[in-house]
């Protein structure tokens, strides 16, 4: 149901019946290792190419999420997913193996919440009973496609972020036991003229702030309504800028625990990740793994996850364009 200008309220309270997170070795060395379902010890996941590895992560995550929901693949009506690869092949090829009617989306690193919002909307509006929302990212495929070959000796600046190797999937159902999806706010493309692809945090922060403000406005809420508001991957620089912008706009973000998935997944002391984590998998595995676990333990009652994406391509950057960004917000509450 439409609420305000660009939000949806899910009155039938679709349930997160099952979730799964699958990550690579580097993420398994981080502080949230215990919250992931599967940790692979080898970055190539035993596959012949990085692209095949990324696809494997996603297939595993979706299959495990469906299993955790107590369902079979045949029972799932739709699969909504996307990733960072050209033509989102990781999702298309995974959808081929899964054989679930497939809706591919592209939101860069905001895909986790874009797909979750759409899945919740399909279930809430009665267009489906069971929908899986999934996304993935792989450090090597992202480096290869957007930046440099993985073994190339380029020096990363301190503003750069490290793409997470991970996949997260969630089964949204019309009824059952589990945390519920209550609200979503769809983002608008925001471009503040930042051109540096090695400083995506700065590019994405305004989009995150725009969506959070729209969400609070559409639902007439204060930030304090949520125990946690977590952005997807703003990391150190974007997170600081988002706080600056909230202060400038007079939004009392300090009422809630305002954090960022990109700041949580790695250990800054032991892991060389410059400003923090990025990638579609970042918000997905931290939300479906760590934050939902905390919710199930009773530590969080209401959280707003605001996944942020930078909608550039290597070509747009080489042509001198700035980086347009988007952020999608989904509210998850303990049942």
């Amino acid at each position: 149901m439409l609420q305000g200008h660009r939000s949806w309220i899910f009155e039938r309270k679709p349930v997160l019946l099952g979730t799964a997170t699958v990550v690579g070795p580097f993420e398994g060395q981080g502080p949230l290792a215990d919250d992931f379902d599967i940790i692979h010890g080898d970055l190539s996941i035993g596959q012949k190419s990085w692209e095949k590895a990324e696809r494997t992560l996603l297939e595993e995550a979706v299959e495990l999420a469906i299993e955790n929901a107590g369902l079979t693949k045949e029972q799932v009506h739709f699969y909504v997913g996307g990733d960072l690869t050209n033509q989102i092949i990781s999702n298309s090829f995974a959808a081929r193996s899964l054989s679930i009617p497939y809706l591919g989306v592209f939101g860069a690193c905001s895909t986790s919440m874009e797909s979750l919002a759409l899945a919740a909307q399909l279930v809430d509006s009665g267009a489906a009973r069971y929908v899986v929302a999934g996304t993935c990212s792989h450090n090597a495929t992202a480096e290869k496609q957007y930046r440099y070959p993985t073994e190339y000796g380029s020096q990363k600046p301190p503003t750069a972020q490290f793409t997470v190797t991970g996949a997260g999937a969630a089964v949204v159902a019309d009824k059952g036991d589990g945390p519920v999806v209550t609200r979503a706010t769809i983002g608008r493309v925001v471009d503040m003229g930042i051109k540096d692809p090695f400083n995506l945090g700065a590019a994405m922060a305004p989009a995150a702030v725009d969506t959070i403000e729209a969400h609070l406005r559409d639902f007439r809420l204060e930030p304090g309504y949520y125990d946690v508001i977590a952005t997807g991957d703003l990391s150190k620089i974007g997170h600081a800028l988002a706080k600056d912008l909230f202060r400038e706009h007079g939004i009392p973000i300090e009422q809630t625990h305002f954090t960022d998935c990109g700041l949580l997944i790695y250990d800054f002391e032991k892991q060389m990740v410059q400003a923090g984590a990025s990638g579609c998998g970042c918000s997905a595995v931290v939300t479906y793994g760590h934050l939902l676990k905390r919710m199930r333990r009773g530590e969080i009652r209401r959280m707003l996850i605001v996944a942020t994406g930078a909608l550039l391509s290597p070509i747009s950057y080489q042509q001198g364009e700035s980086i347009p960004c988007i952020a999608h917000a989904v509210a998850i509450e303990a049942e």
């Binding site: 070959p149 073994e151 190339y152 000796g153 020096q155 301190p158 503003t159 003229g193 620089i237 600081a240």
Partner: protein
């Protein structure tokens, strides 16, 4: 030029750019320069030592000894790239690892390794020069211009 681009931004965008600049961590320029100097210098010193070995033990005349020297450095760089070590060294060294011929070899080796999955012809063959291409193009163009100048004024 930068001002021209700046003027195309709206006031809100310009304001945000200034804010973003403030939040950007300061680059440790002096530290990076020192690291580049030490690492680049060490690579060149190593090259010099190898060249001396070719002259004294290999019997190469001085002018010809640079060829096998460069070949050895390229081999070392490709081995270190294949072992996954060169990029870690480069994060520390910066320009010191990129500028010498070892950096050039690394750019080609890393691209060839990365695109192996796309086949020998279009993958390895086609994409090997992805990063090295500009070096070759502009090096050749520069040599051509210098050659013309030498012929005209030399």
């Amino acid at each position: 030029m930068a001002d021209e681009k700046r003027k195309k931004l709206t006031p809100v965008q310009q304001q945000y750019q200034e804010l973003a600049k403030k939040r950007e961590p300061k680059r440790a320029v002096l530290r990076n320069c020192l690291r580049a100097f030490v690492s680049g210098g060490t690579i060149c010193l190593l090259g010099q030592a190898i060249q001396q070995m070719f002259i004294h033990w290999g019997g190469f005349p001085k002018e010809k000894a640079s060829n096998p020297t460069v070949a050895v450095l390229i081999l070392l760089s490709v081995i270190l790239t294949s072992l996954g070590v060169y990029d870690k060294f480069a994060q520390w060294a910066g320009a010191g690892s990129a500028v010498p011929v070892t950096g050039f070899a690394n750019s080609m080796a890393s691209a060839a390794i990365e695109h192996r999955s796309e086949g020998v012809v279009l993958g390895i063959g086609g994409k090997m020069f992805k990063l090295a291409g500009p070096v070759i193009v502009f090096g050749t163009v520069a040599a051509f211009i210098v050659g013309i100048c030498h012929w005209l004024f030399g």
